[in-house]
């Protein structure tokens, strides 16, 4: 159950759905809710991910029924029908998704029924019933995937053995999502694979629709999309390979490449050739920056998907000293926590950091106060404590409003170079 939170990281369910739709592009959210929700869910999620504004619909351009007192008393279904008709008339979208705000969910508007009426007339209108108050934006992303598998993905008995779906990087909820997806896609392409990533440049509804033809889902997260994984297996006969978080740096990325190779039974020579070429490239640069960064005792704060990779890369590959890693996800399952802890602790040379599960601003700050650190990788929320401590700070995890992020990545081989560039300090 959602807890009282100080300075929460991210929006409600609607924020996550909206971000997922925005990252695909040409998918139109129809926000059935009170006035203000369009702005709130945009500002609370996508706008805190490196400052970008999604090109298609966002904030005040998102269609909304803007429910007022009248609708609270008499119901909002007619207002929603008018709104949908307007959308169909003027918005040039591939599909329309009704998002269920707190107001209609409490008064009991039947948005599913409304959507079905439009679908009967041949319009691609779908309802995502999970209401705003059901949870945070992460649940929203999961709900968007559920809607994709319920309505968009086409079952296919014929599989394309070189086609994979890359999942687990939630767009906007990770500031470097687009760059990270591009870097992992680049690496998979070197293995001769074609990649559906659903989100970002060059992707569209078509990639979601044909994801049922894929030979494999590659899920780069220790805990997200477990329901989706099951649906792909049972409904679409697509197995999944789970990798614990976004791989950062040569060690984890090469491990990632080998696992993909094994899962798809790829030519071992090709796999090793790709790994060697990329590692050579990375070390070509590292070799030119020996001793350029001073030794750091570091802390990482953020979502599991990124803090695992960040801790492991900086400790294993860059020989910094991990002191504390704070995982901010709202986690309900003990097994998820244990898995995450295991992944962070599995270090090659050095003793693992203290690992804490906490998302509340105050409690995170109190934890960080206890430790002697010289580098902090975190979000806007950790900026103040870093300034107080007078230590180096890098905006790395969500939310980030202090820097503009286009396609910059921290994942894979190339991302690790960018990350080290960013960590250079001449103080």
């Amino acid at each position: 159950m959602p807890q009282i939170l100080e300075s929460p990281r991210g929006s409600c369910v609607l924020g996550g759905i909206n971000a997922a739709l925005a990252a695909v592009g040409r998918l139109c959210p129809i926000v059935h809710a009170g006035p203000g929700c369009c702005m709130q869910i945009t500002a609370g999620e996508v706008l805190q991910s490196g400052g970008k504004i999604p090109y298609f619909l966002s904030g005040v351009s998102i269609p909304s029924s803007n429910m007022l007192e009248r609708e609270v008393i008499f119901g909002g279904e007619q207002k929603l029908r008018d709104e949908i008709q307007g959308c169909l008339d003027i918005i040039d979208a591939d599909a329309f998704f009704i998002l269920n705000g707190c107001v209609p969910a409490i008064i009991g508007d039947d948005i599913k029924n409304v959507a079905e009426d439009f679908r009967k007339k041949g319009f691609p209108v779908y309802a995502i019933e999970t209401p705003g108050f059901a949870g945070d934006s992460v649940l929203g992303y999961e709900s968007a995937f559920k809607a994709f598998t319920d309505y968009l993905v086409k079952p296919s008995t014929v599989k394309q053995k070189n086609l994979v779906n890359l999942m687990g990087i939630f767009p906007y909820h990770e500031p470097f999502w687009e760059g990270n997806i591009q870097e992992l896609t680049r690496i998979l392409q070197e293995l001769g694979l074609e990649v559906n990533s659903f989100f970002g440049y060059g992707q569209s509804i078509k990639n979601i629709q044909r994801s049922g033809e894929a030979a494999l889902n590659i899920i780069v997260s220790p805990h997200l999309l477990k329901g989706t994984e099951k649906v792909y297996k049972e409904k679409f006969d697509v197995p999944s390979l789970r990798f614990s978080g976004v791989p950062i740096g040569a060690t984890d990325t090469s491990n990632f490449v080998r696992k993909v190779g094994e899962a798809l039974n790829l030519d071992k020579n090709l796999v090793e050739k790709v790994i060697t070429a990329n590692e050579k490239y990375v070390y070509y640069f590292y070799e030119q920056a020996i001793g350029k960064l001073s030794w750091k005792r570091f802390a990482v704060v953020g979502e599991a998907n990124n803090v695992i990779g960040l801790t492991r890369f900086l400790a294993n590959d860059y020989s910094f000293t991990p002191v504390i890693t704070i995982v901010t996800d709202t986690l309900y399952q003990q097994e998820d926590k244990e898995q995450i802890k295991k992944e962070i602790s599995r270090l090659e040379y050095i003793k693992p950091p203290e690992i804490i599960f906490e998302g509340d601003y105050y409690k995170v700050t109190q934890e960080l106060k206890k430790h002697d650190i010289t580098l902090l990788l975190g979000s806007d929320n950790e900026m103040e404590i870093a300034m107080e401590k007078g230590i180096q700070f890098l905006h790395t995890t969500f939310p980030v409003t202090e820097r503009l992020v286009f396609n910059r990545c921290i994942a894979g081989y190339k991302g690790s170079l960018t990350l080290i560039e960013d960590l250079y300090d001449n103080l």
Binding site: P2, P35, G36, C38, M67, I91, D380, N381
Partner: protein, 479 residues
């Protein structure tokens, strides 16, 4: 629900949806023939809760409890940003974050009520920060399930030193987001002014500032008041409980934004005999004059003000003339909030530009005063009474083909036309110094539209081509 709940829609002759030519609207309003309209298709609005939180988030020694699901604090990011940047501009070494706690109302609370969680949050706020003020903001969800935030506040207040201030800003109650400002000031009046009498301070002026005022703007307003021998009590932006209590000691009041603290200033006049000036936003030459004269009059310093205005005009006049040469005759479309868009419409005439279209969120008596003035300045122009609604704007802008678009640039920039903004909460836009900053900015951006021109080759808008052939106001229907 608070017994004194009042939203902008309840003020006489206030309209949030509509359209037309400016001269027609002026007549209709004067003849009381304006009708209540609604849009059968619309895009997202700004809710009043966004305004309520924004107005207060920079207050010192405060904790802000938002009694809502997690999503209702999304827009606070803008105010948090302005708070952090504001600290940087004021020379702070460490940028504080506002202490904001969300009660995270969930499925259970919706059924069982969320008052227990609210009490917990208040206790947490007190334990963590021992603040002077704890604000509670209502939301759509807390409003519909009828959580008694006033009752909780009263009950918790008994054992707490911090002043607990509940604010009724339930989103679904109003489609005019400025209602959220009113809710804030009603709560300030009720809970923060204190009951004791405090002595008047000669020359102290309440300067009501919204969160979009930059530090440079504050400095300029204070400079202008100082020229009159007056001192500003700058509230509520970057202020404190102490400064709020000082409001009663002031000699007069004024506001930087027309829709900000207007009711409150009237109340201060009625209750404490503090006269006030309610004019325009001090953006542009004439507006700054009017704003300055307004507060000078209320403080009994009209003569001095006139002399200063003369001097200021002499100081910046030649530069305004230079800017005018670069901008004269250009046609402009303006979109923005009520205060800024009307102010910008006068500003552009300082530079000899012509208004062809204007979006304003509300049409009321204040707007009527502005429209009357603008009709004299610019002649007839198109008015879209809308809180943004970019789908209408793109349609109108594509027809009008203005030389310049002033306002939120995200959609019009994609047509390749030059765009700029007068809403810059981090830069100097107000008073006499602000005129020059805006003038140079407008002229430079207008003359150098390369980015937008090149962008337009690749940029996409989400609307069907057929929409641009339709009546932009086709979805505005009589209720």
């Amino acid at each position: 629900m608070a017994e004194d709940y009042r939203i902008r829609e309840q003020r006489p002759h206030t309209y949030a949806d509509g359209c037309g030519k400016s001269k027609n609207l002026e007549c209709q309003f004067r003849d009381k023939k304006m009708e209540v309209m609604d849009r059968t298709f619309s895009q997202g609005l700004q809710c009043q809760e966004i305004n309520s939180i924004g107005a207060l988030l920079s207050l010192e020694d405060s904790v802000f409890i938002v009694h809502s699901p997690q999503g209702c604090v999304g827009c606070s990011v803008t105010s948090v940003d302005r708070y952090r940047v504001g600290q940087a501009h004021r020379g702070a070494k460490i940028y504080r974050s506002p202490r904001m706690i969300v009660t995270n109302l969930d499925q259970n609370d919706i059924i069982m009520g969320g008052e227990k969680k609210l009490k917990e949050a208040i206790t947490l706020a007190n334990e963590r920060y021992s603040p002077k003020v704890i604000f509670i903001f209502a939301s759509c969800a807390s409003g519909i399930i009828a959580d008694d935030i006033d009752g909780v506040a009263t009950q918790m207040q008994r054992d707490m030193k911090a002043v607990i201030v509940p604010i009724h800003c339930e989103g679904f109650k109003s489609k005019i987001c400025a209602s959220g400002f009113d809710a804030v000031f009603r709560a300030i009046s009720k809970y923060m002014l204190g009951t004791e009498n405090i002595p008047k301070e000669e020359g102290l002026i309440n300067l009501f500032a919204p969160t979009t005022t930059s530090y440079k703007d504050q400095v300029e307003m204070e400079r202008m008041l100082n020229l009159l021998g007056l001192k500003a009590n700058y509230v509520p932006f970057f202020s404190s409980l102490e400064k709020m209590r000082k409001v009663k000691a002031a000699q007069a009041s004024t506001s930087i934004c027309k829709v900000f603290a207007d009711e409150f200033m009237l109340e201060l006049d009625n209750k404490y005999g503090i006269p006030f000036s309610h004019t325009v936003m001090p953006i542009g030459l004439r507006n700054t004059d009017e704003w300055f004269l307004g507060i000078a009059r209320a403080a009994g310093k009209e003569k001095e003000a006139k002399a200063i205005i003369k001097k200021e005009h002499k100081r910046i006049g030649p530069e305004v003339e230079q800017i005018r040469k670069r901008l004269e005759g250009k046609r402009v479309f303006i979109c923005g909030g009520t205060g800024r868009s009307f102010a910008a419409a006068v500003l552009i005439e300082d530079f000899g530009m012509k208004l062809v279209g204007l979006e304003t969120p509300v049409y009321d008596q204040d707007a009527q005063d502005d429209i009357e003035y603008l009709n004299k300045l610019h002649g007839d122009f198109i008015v879209d009474i809308a809180n943004m609604q970019p789908f209408e704007q793109v349609n109108i802008v594509k027809r009008l083909k203005p030389d310049l678009f002033i306002g939120v640039p995200h959609w019009s920039a994609r047509f390749g036309i030059p765009t700029t903004h007068v809403l810059e909460g981090k830069r100097p836009t107000m008073g006499y110094d602000g005129i020059l900053y805006l003038g140079y900015k407008i002229a430079d951006q207008m003359e150098n539209a390369g980015f937008n021109r090149k962008l337009s080759k690749y940029a996409r808008l989400p609307y069907k081509e057929s929409w641009y052939q339709e009546d932009p106001f086709k979805y505005i229907k009589k209720v």
